[in-house]
């Protein structure tokens, strides 16, 4: 470098030789930077790539050499699909059904309850509106862990412990304020004029809602629906805290239990069940991650 500097020092400032040398230097720097950035991204992402890759490879192989390289293809890790891993486990398909119920329930309630509520808050004047808005915000500052214990009390009093319905109601209560808040944002973004012109043209409020407003918030509703489905499908804390009875297990309890029972023993079974659990999420994710990015900002996970 120093030598290069001396070499060009005597050249006039705008000479072709000097320009060419310096330009080549800049190009080399730029290429190095690009190389460095790609290397950084790839190396940093390795745990994620290897982790999810392992989930797939390990599920279909006998063993992994050095913990990484799959050896011997097999589907025996998936035998849990037709037989119980041990007597202790509930039926897999019933567990899956429970998980699906929770996910679909969350999706439906977010669409059917959060959407109209958000619309009303965004568009109509009524006594108590401001109080409702303030309450939504204040509630949001109460983290889940604060309410967990009293929710246990409430569920037990209502006889809803150990039931999917109980977990569903608890999750709905905690998610609704956030969902309403995000949906309200979508409605707020639609200009009043559009709705006004609909009303002026003689449509009723309901018709404008259906024909003019809803089509415009459809992407928002879709994002919300997918987000709620994945959120319900993936739920861990409330499920393992409020549900002990095996008939009401979801896949979270199932996989959780396999970790506890078989640790150090059967990674094949563990990765296969985990893969089975994540598969719907993975499919949703691959096709809709662009949507999901818009809701992430509203998500609360650390």
């Amino acid at each position: 470098m120093a030598q290069l500097k001396q070499e060009i020092a005597h050249l006039p400032r705008f000479s072709p030789e000097r320009l060419r040398i310096e330009a080549r230097k800049e190009q080399r720097k730029a290429r190095l930077l690009t190389l460095f950035i790609y290397t950084f991204l790839i190396v940093a992402s390795l745990p994620i790539i290897l982790g999810y890759g392992w989930l797939v490879l390990n599920s279909f192989s006998e063993t992994l050499a050095y913990g990484v390289l799959p050896k011997g293809w097999t589907i025996k890790n998936f035998r849990f699909l037709w037989e119980l891993p041990s007597r202790y486990y509930p039926d897999l398909w019933r567990t899956t059904w429970n998980t699906l119920l929770l996910a679909v329930g969350m999706t439906i309630i977010m669409i059917l309850v959060a959407t109209p509520t958000a619309y009303v808050i965004s568009r109509m004047k009524f006594p108590g509106r401001n109080m409702m808005l303030a309450m939504t915000l204040i509630l949001h500052s109460f983290p889940g862990v604060t309410l967990l214990i009293s929710l246990y009390y409430v569920l037990r009093s209502l006889g809803l412990l150990n039931s999917i319905v109980g977990v569903f109601l608890v999750k709905a209560g905690l998610m609704l304020p956030l969902g309403i808040w995000i949906m309200k944002g979508f409605f707020d973004n639609i200009s009043w004029d559009v709705e006004m012109s609909g009303l002026v043209d003689g449509a009723t409020r309901m018709q404008t809602l259906y024909k003019i407003i809803l089509p415009q918030v459809k992407p928002g509703i879709a994002a919300m629906a997918i987000f709620s489905f994945i959120n319900g499908w993936s739920e861990y804390i409330y499920v393992i805290t409020f549900i002990q009875k095996k008939e009401s297990w979801t896949l979270s309890s199932y996989v959780n239990s396999i970790i506890g029972d078989f640790q150090f023993i059967d990674y094949g079974l563990l990765s296969a069940t985990a893969l089975f659990y994540i598969l719907p999420v993975l499919l949703f994710f691959i096709f809709t991650q662009k949507y999901l990015m818009t809701v992430t900002v509203g998500g609360t996970k650390g």
């Binding site: 400032r13 705008f14 000479s15 072709p16 320009l19 310096e22 330009a23 800049e26 190009q27 730029a30």
Partner: protein, 366 residues
């Protein structure tokens, strides 16, 4: 200082061609304007000169040195953006000093040079403010300072006046011109405003759809438009343009424009057209080149005033001949009123003809 040459420059973004095979020689020490409507490729050309875009094809020379592939920081150009792009978190001083700081110029020298250039541009009392705390005109000067402080070989201005109000625009126009002459710096100006181009530039390149339409002195743009686009783009109020068919009536040649207007052809033009085969043209004449007479004249057309618009010092007098309109610009003190009958005489040497098919200017004697 640099003379800049562009040789067959093309820039494509994917399948969209922004600049299409343009060649241009820009003389040393003068102001050259790239003029055209938005999307014509003028800013793309400017960014290629700065080194931010690389041309897809063709070569760019600064003083006979090919600069293709040379990054912006080595080109030693100063660039003033339309939005000024002043860094909002830096003071005016820090903004101007930024290029020097990156070049690792010693602190004392930076201070000296910033103060010197700030004095030239007359903002030396604003150095400690933030960009948000000064007016648009002042921000514009700061941006100019930042471009000039590194003693660039080439100064590039992208719509430098478009964010200023009308009065400030006139003031700043003169100011930039003064600074440019004081420093003798080769300057390239991108603008969509013909007044800006004509008043500031020594020569103007009119661009449209990535192609240079005409490259000439500002006077020639107005007096000798190379094609119909330049003719219609330049001048305010715009040139009267109409389809005209050369025919003869009672042994005299006339231009038939629509069904109701017949303009007698001056002899010089008739002579120039004799060798041409085509009979159909686009005829253009600027409103200021139409004289209004009270009496008949052999080269004049009779017409009834349809409407009169007062434009400050001038009046725009509107005539209708069926579907064809003719507008004449006369001093405001000329008495003319709606419904009045006048004879309109185009100044013979100010009539422009363009081929109907190719829309290129038809060469007329004189």
């Amino acid at each position: 200082m640099a003379a800049v040459v562009l040789k067959n420059i093309t820039k494509a973004f994917g399948s969209v061609v922004a600049v299409d095979n343009i060649s241009l020689e820009i003389p040393d020490g003068q102001v050259t304007a790239l003029l055209g409507p938005s999307g014509c490729g003028k800013t793309t050309t400017l960014l290629m000169l700065a080194g931010i875009y690389q041309p897809t094809r063709g070569e760019i020379f600064f003083d006979e040195v090919m600069v293709n592939g040379i990054p912006p920081k080595l080109r030693n150009v100063g660039l003033v953006f339309q939005s000024y792009a002043l860094y909002p978190h830096m003071t005016v001083f820090e903004n101007i000093a930024f290029p020097l700081k990156l070049k690792k110029v010693p602190k004392d020298e930076i201070r000296q040079r910033v103060q010197d250039i700030a004095k030239v541009v007359q903002i030396d009392d604003l150095l400690q403010r933030k960009p948000a705390q000064i007016s648009g005109g002042q921000q514009q000067r700061v941006a100019l300072c930042r471009a000039l402080v590194k003693n660039p070989d080439l100064l590039l201005l992208d719509e430098p006046l478009s964010n200023l109000d009308a009065r400030l625009r006139i003031e700043t126009r003169a100011e930039i011109k003064r600074i440019q002459q004081e420093l003798g710096i080769t300057t390239i100006l991108v603008t969509h405003d013909q007044v800006e181009a004509v008043t500031m530039a020594d020569q103007v390149a009119v661009m449209r759809n990535g192609v240079i339409q005409q490259y000439s002195s500002p006077e020639d743009l107005l007096l000798k438009p190379a094609n119909m686009f330049v003719a219609s783009f330049m001048g305010d109020p715009p040139m009267n343009l109409m389809e005209a068919e050369l025919s003869s009536e009672n042994g005299k040649s006339v231009f038939r424009c629509g069904s109701e207007l017949k303009i007698p052809v001056p002899d010089a033009i008739a002579a120039a057209l004799q060798s041409r085969r085509d009979r159909e043209f686009i005829l253009g004449v600027r409103p200021e080149n139409l004289e209004l007479l009270d009496e008949p004249h052999e080269l004049a057309v009779p017409g009834t005033v349809f409407m009169v618009e007062l434009l400050g010092r001038d009046k725009l007098v509107d005539f209708r001949f069926g579907e064809v309109a003719l507008r004449a610009l006369v001093p405001a003190d000329v008495a003319v009123s709606q419904g009045e009958k006048k004879w309109i005489r185009p100044q013979a040497h100010r009539i422009h003809l363009f081929g109907k098919a190719d829309r290129q200017a038809v060469p007329l004697a004189g």
